[in-house]
Structure formats: C-alpha cells, structure tokens
Amino acid sequence: MKRNILTVIIGAVLILIFGLLLFVFQVRQSEVAVVTTFGKPVRDLTEPGAYFKWPWPVQKVYKFDQRTQNFEDKFSENLTSDSITLLTSVYVGWKISDAQSFFPKFAGGSMSAAQRMLESTLRSAKSAVISKHTLSELVNADPKALQFDGIESEIEQAVQVQLQTNNCGIELEFLGFKKIGLPESVTQAVFARMTSDRQRLINQFQYEGEAEAQKIKSAAERQASEVVNNAVADATRIRGEGEAEAAKVLPVFQQNPELANFLLRIDALQQSLNQRSTLIFDERTPPFDLFTGIPASSTSQGH
C-alpha cells in the first residue's frame, strides 16, 4: 500500500510538471512572444511573465529576442564617385518592433531569415550611398572635408526607408562602419606610394645634410681665409715697418758710397751662390787666372 502511494505521488508530480510544461509558458524580460491558434496569430505578448496556452497542436508559442540584435555585413567592394574601389563592412543594430508583423514575414519568425533580408537591403543601400561620395569624403585628414558620419546616416536612412516599405516589423537602431579597406591591388599601390613618400624624405634628409655640411664648411673656410688674409696684411705692414726702420741707417753708408756698393755686390754674390749652382769659369776669372802661369803639362795633370 505504501509503495502504491509513493508511486502515485511520483506519478502525480511527473504529470503536474508535464501538464505545466504543456499548458504554461514563460516570456522573459528580453523576449516577445506570439501565440498562434491552429497557425493563426492571436496574441502578441511583450510583457514578461507566465502565461497560459492550449497544448500543441492547438496553440503554439513563438518567442523572439526583443533586445537589439547586431551583426556585421560582409566586407564588400564598392566603387566611389571618384572611381576608387573601396572595401567596407558595416555593423547594424536592429530589433523587432512589431512581433505580429515580423512573425509571418520570415518563415515562423526566423531571426536568421530576417537578418539575411536586412543584410541584402543593407548591401544595396551601402553600395548606392558610397557610389555618390568620393573617398576623400570618407577618409580625409581635413576634418572639414570629412563626411564620415553623414555617409553613415545616409545608409541608415536608405535601409530604414526600405524596412518601412517592407513593413516587416523590424526597426533599425543604429549603423556604423566597422571596416574600411582597399582591395589588395590598390593596397599594393598605396604601399608603393608610401614607400616613395618615405624615399622622398630620405633623399630630402640626405641632401639637406650634405647641403648644410657644405654650407658650414664653406663658411668656415671663408672665415679662415679672412683671418689668414688679415694676418698676411698685418705681416706685410709689419715687414714694411721693419723696412722703414732699417732704412734709417742708410745715411751711414753714404759716407763711402763706393765701398757700400762694393759690399752690397759682394753680399748679392754671396746670397746668389747660396743656392745649388754650377759655375763655369775660364782661366781669366780671378783667382783662376793663376792657372795661366802654370806649364801645360802641369795643367793637363790638374784636370
């Protein structure tokens, strides 16, 4: 008997749990639910709590996440108005604004189907907007020329308009560029330009250095030359002063000009023969004239 009571209790608990699961469902704070009766939407539940329903297949409950969903579209290539191919990727935040409208549009309220639809709409809008703008409006070191936020807004508006047209119960919350890039071939061209730019700077530094060095050397040489020239001028002046001072004693030599001239000649002779010289004399030049008085045989032996 005791065993039967336990079995009944276990059975009752299991039936209670099973019954609760069949007849009651919960909607979380983060969810919105649509209840269908034989496939027809009859209730739209946006408030969290526990609700009653008839078991399947009479009623079915479709729950959707009503929080903002975000996804990133593909990194796709578009042409700007200045004919530059640009790769962009956009992230998007969207949420279900009207579950009853959303539910029938996407095969039982499939979030992934909604996302696919949104992605195709987004790509189309993105391509259209980017083709109206130049690259420099999207990337520019001059803040006045930059229209980054404006382009994002244009894409967002284009998508929003399409969503309103579709009336699919989706609301676009936000949109922004996640990535902006260039195709590989253009990237290589940019790399080449960056390299050339660097090479220009390298050359600039190299030749600026040489020019600067040359200027410094030239200035130094000019300054040195100036100093030396001044020194030479001073030296000439000093020598002149010396000459003038020396000339003061010339009246002494005037006492006997003949002797003075003779001595000057002798000095000149001595100074001129100081250098390496070869002299050819004949027998008439004193003191070699002494050779004229010597017998011929003796002279021959002398050679």
Binding site: A189, T195, L201, Q204, E208, G209, I266
Partner: protein, 632 residues
C-alpha cells in the same frame, strides 16, 4: 516431442525477428537518407546491430535444434542396438551437431562479441565526429512523412519485441532474448527519432542534433558494457551444468528495452557473475523495496537544489521570476534563496572583473612570446586601417594624373593595436538591452577607431597626437556605449602599438636613419669648420709673428750693418784695392765652396765645349710614395 516442437517454434520466431529487423533496418536507413536526420542515422546503426545479433541468435537456435534432433535419433538407435560395441566410437563422430554447437559457443560467440564491441565502439567514435561536422539538418518539408514512418517502425518493432521478450521467458527460448532486447530498444530509438524530427518541425532545429548526440553516447555505453562483459567472462567461475549466458546478450540493451525488469536484470547479472544468489541478500531486497521512495527523495533534492544560488566574488546575478526581473533582483556575491526551477531563474554576469578585448589585431600564438616587438616584423594578425594624408592630397590637387604613383588613393594605411578594458556597471542594462553586448561593444570600439583614423593625418597620429588620440577614443567609445545603453564603463583605451604596415615599416625606419645621417653630416661639417678656423687662426698668428720677427731682424741687421760699415771705412781708406780684393776673394771662396765648378783652361778659342746640365733624378726616388698632405 513437445520440446522439439517448441524448439522449432523458437527458431521460427528467431527467423521472423531477423527478417523483420533487417527489413526495418533497410527501411529506416532509406527514410533517414530521405529526411537527412542525424538521429535516424544512429537509429539505423542500432537496428543494424540488432539484425546482426538476431542473426547470431537464430543461427545458434538452429544449432541447438539440430543437436536435439541428433540426440533423439541417437536415443532411438541406442534403443534398437542394445549396446553393441561395434558402434562405440568417439563423441565427435557420433554427435556432429553437438560438436558443431560446442565449437560455435567456444569460438564464434566470443569472436562475435569482439566484433560487436568493435562495431559499437567504432560506430560511436565515428558517428560522434560525423555529427559534429554535419552542416545540414532535417529537411522540414520531408519531416512529416519521415516522422510517420519512424512511428510505424517503432510500433512494429515494439510488437515484435514484446512478443519475443514474452516468448524468451519460456524454457529453451532464452536465445530469443538478445534479438528481442535489441528489437525493443530499436522500437524506443525509432520513437525517439520520431520525436527528434517532430522537434525540428516544431521549430527546435537542434533537437535532432542533441538526440543524435544522446544516442551516440548510448552506443558508446553499450560498447563499454560489452567490453566489461568480455573481460568479466574471462574471470567468471564456471559451474558445471549451469547454462552460460550469451556474451552478445547485452544486459544494458535488455534493461533499456525492458526498464521494468531493472531488478531482475541486475539480480541476474549479479547472481551470474558471483556464482551465488546475491539477489536474495537483505540489502538487495531493501533497495528493491524502497526504490520509488529513493527516486522521490532524489527528485526532491534535485528540485530543492534549485532553490539556492551561489554568486561568486566578482559576479552579479539577475533573478527572474516567471521571466520577469524581480524588483531589486540583482544578486550580489554570496548565497541566496529563490523559488525552485522553473519559477525562478538566475543569470550570472562577471561585473567586477575587468574585461578586455583588442581592436585592430588578433594575438598570434607563434609570436606572442617574442621579447622584442618591431614594426618591420609581423607580431600579430594585424588589420590595416585607412588614415588621412595631407601630403598626398596636396599632390593630387596640384598635378594631373600623369604620374603613376599619383593614381594611388590619397590615403595611407596604418596598423594599430588597441586594447580596450571595460567593466559592467549596470548589469540590468547589460543583460536586457542588447542580445550580444560584448560583440556590440567591440563593434562600437572598432567603429570609433576607424572614424578617428579616417579624420587624422598619418604622421601626426603616429607622433604628437598619440596621447590625445587615446583620450579621444576612450571618450568616443564611452559615449557610444552609453548611447546604446550597454551599462559598461570604459576603463582604458591604449594605443599601445601604432605603426605603418609591416611592408612599408622598413622605409619609415630608413627615414629615421636618413635624419640621423643628416645630423651626422652637419656635425662632421661643424667639426671641420672648427678645425679650419682653428688652423686659420694659428696660421694668422704665425704669419704675424714671422712678420714681427722679420721686422726685428731687418732693424737689427740694419743697425749691425751700419756699425760694421762704419768700422770698414777706415780699413778701405787705408788700402782700397787690397781691401777690395781681400773682401772679394773671401766672399768668393765662401760663396762657391759648395757650388759645382767647371774651369775652362783652353787656348784654342774655336773649340766648342758642350755641357749637359740636366738634373738626373735617382731611380729609387721616382718610386717613392709621397703621402698627400693638406695645406693648412
């Protein structure tokens, strides 16, 4: 005769089971292929194993039937011959059927057990991997027919299985049991497969996957049980006359096929393994008697355990009652009481912990431990960001596109590594505003970086604007997170690594090198200038000093000459010609002492004497290397 009839009847049942399970196996495999169900695939494997077991047991039944026929014939012959020694031969020759049955049990049955083990274990292993890699699921438009067919398979197998299980309880029908157990289990698995397909149809797309995974685990358990059975079979005590249990008769399969026989199966297993009646002990009987109560207690404990929640340090929890957050329901670290599942549910979040993500790069495990980080060596998987470039824009506006290099867009590329650290400060906002807040925060941060770099100059952001950039980015990310009500506080945004892409980084380094070279050249020139000026000063000093010396020499010599002349006048006046001649010869001798002298002592005046006075330079002097010397 009745015994023989029953034996034949058992073999017939075995054959019917075999045919039924083979047909249903083929049909189930076809339906599985049709609907592309993962669970159906595993069900087919179970049915295939069931077909093998049914075949083995049917074959063994046939052998036992032949043995009994043989025994009857021999008994009749023995009655007619009255023990003539003429026909006394060995057993193997007299009872070939018995011999065949014994050989079958001795060699085939263990071998078949090993084969089953390999199939079950290999199947579980391969199917587990295959399920994980499967990309497609149940075709929704084919779900309903497949569901109905699997339900029919389940019903048919259940009927065959229940009948055979009941028959297997009869004496001499024990060989029906292995196949019957597999058929019953197959029935339940087909039913579960139908549920899996129904789950997919009812918008639970992962139901098929999870049930397939569960069946895979079950197949692995059956394989494990087979392994244990084979090992225990080696050490089992052999009792003469006791009927051995078939190795391929899985207890687990029997238990799952007939869960009501849990205790019977357990008792049989224990009795069989230990060689005495364990099932008659007081403990076993107590367990058997109170099992429902134990299950109830366990269920109650399980339910009560959901009434307590422990929140770890650094975490906060959101408490929901029937899906609605309880007022003030943010639970702080510690133990908390709540209503049992499914009324109250708790969701934990790491709020105190400083969380980090990276923008612009993904760490590379191969280079992560490098001690030196260079621009020109890739040290992570880095993204290239577009950045403005003042200089390029100027070039493009001033010139036409005749130069190839000007066709590149007026932008540059930059690589940045930006770690972002954040903390959840409003757990309710974090939990309920966005479906994937972590990913969204990363999107917002990346967008802020892209936006910032798109509007600044490459060179400035790499140098003086770096600190300003960090602050600006932190403010922008915080503002974006607040606008999206993420409930986070941005603690740190660091431009820890900002440089040109690896491919051009080397050129940037060369520019730095060129700048240094320029400075070096200027410094060299300055050193030269110092030297030149110093030497020029020295030369000037020397020149003026020489001039001073010359002046002094001239003055002194002039005075000396005047004094000498004054003294020479009296001597000259005394003997003018002699004095003159003496002075001449003294001077001549002194002046020509070192000169090369040629004296012509010729009398014939018409003789022509030719002198070659060309200087001859010594050959060794011509080979002398004279170092260059710079004049000051």
């Amino acid at each position: 005769m009745v015994e023989l009839y029953m034996e034949r009847n058992a073999a017939k049942n075995g054959l019917v089971n075999l045919v039924a399970v083979v047909i249903i196996f083929i049909a189930a495999f076809g339906v599985t292929y049709y609907v592309n169900s993962l669970a159906g695939q595993i069900a087919s494997v179970f049915l295939g194993l069931g077909a093998l077991v049914a075949f083995a047991s049917w074959f063994q039944m046939r052998l036992e039937e032949n043995e009994r026929l043989e025994k009857l014939e021999m008994d009749e012959l023995a009655g007619g011959r009255s023990g003539s020694a003429l026909f006394e031969t060995k057993d193997a020759e007299v009872f070939p059927a018995r011999r065949a049955r014994e050989q079958f049990e001795k060699f085939f049955v263990p071998g078949f057990g090993v084969l089953l083990l390999l199939l079950e274990a290999g199947g579980a292993w391969l199917l587990w991997g295959w399920i994980g890699r499967a990309t497609s699921g149940v075709a929704p438009d084919r779900a309903m027919p497949a569901l109905a067919l699997f339900a029919i398979f389940a019903l048919l197998l259940f009927l065959f299985g229940r009948f055979s299980v009941t028959m297997a309880r009869l004496e001499n029908h024990r060989l029906l049991r292995p196949g019957a157990s597999f058929i019953l289990l197959g029935a339940y698995i087909c039913f579960i497969t139908a549920l899996a397909i129904a789950g997919v149809k009812a918008e639970f797309p992962r139901a098929d996957f999870y049930i397939a995974r569960g069946l895979c685990v079950l197949l692995g358990l059956v394989a494990a049980e087979m392994l244990v059975t084979l090992l225990l079979e080696i050490y089992r005590p052999r009792v003469r006359g006791k009927i051995t249990r078939l190795v391929y008769d899985s207890r687990l399969v029997g238990l799952l096929g007939q869960p009501e026989s849990l205790f019977t199966t357990a008792a049989q297993a224990l009795d069989y393994q230990f060689g005495f009646n364990v099932s008659e002990t007081w403990f076993f009987r107590l367990l058997q008697k109170n099992l429902p109560a134990l299950l109830l207690v366990q269920l109650a404990v399980l339910l009560l355990s959901t009434c307590v929640v422990f929140v770890d340090a650094g975490e906060q929890a959101v408490l929901e009652r029937f899906g609605k957050p309880v007022a003030g329901g943010v639970l702080t670290p510690g133990a908390h009481i709540k209503l049992p599942w499914p009324a109250d549910r708790v969701y934990l979040y790491r709020t105190e912990q400083i969380q980090t993500f990276d923008v612009g790069y993904a760490p590379d495990a191969t280079t992560e431990n490098e001690k030196t980080i260079l621009w020109s060596v890739a040290h992570a998987k880095e993204d290239n960001f577009l950045v403005g470039n003042h200089e390029s824009v100027t070039i493009k506006n001033e010139n036409t596109d005749t130069n190839d290099t000007l066709k590149a867009p007026p932008v540059s590329l930059l690589t940045v590594s930006i770690p972002v650290q954040f903390q959840i400060h409003d757990v309710m906002a974090w939990a309920y505003q966005n479906a994937d807040p972590t990913n969204l925060l990363q999107d917002l941060a990346t967008r802020a970086v892209v936006h910032y770099l798109a509007g600044v100059d490459l060179n400035s952001v790499m140098s003086q604007a770096k600190l300003e950039a960090e602050q600006t980015l932190r403010d922008q990310i915080q503002a974006a997170a607040d606008a999206r009500r993420l409930g986070v506080k941005i603690l740190f945004v660091g431009l820890q690594d900002i440089h040109p892409p690896v491919k051009v980084a080397g050129d940037y380094e060369k520019v730095v090198g060129a700048e240094q070279t320029k400075l070096a050249k200027i410094l060299d020139a300055q050193a030269d200038a110092i030297r030149t000026n110093a030497l020029a000063g020295a030369l000037a000093f020397t020149t003026t000093n020489i001039a001073d010396a010359t002046r002094q020499r001239l003055e002194v010599q002039a005075l000396a000459r005047a004094a000498l002349f004054t003294n020479q006048i009296p001597a000259f006046a005394a003997a003018p010609s002699v004095y003159r001649q003496r002075a001449y010869f003294q001077t001549f001798a002194a002046a020509t002492a070192n000169a090369r002298k040629y004296i012509l002592l010729v009398t014939n005046t018409e003789e022509v004497v030719i002198f070659d006075l060309e200087d001859k330079i010594r050959e060794d002097l011509l080979n002398l290397n004279v170092p260059n010397s710079q004049s000051p």
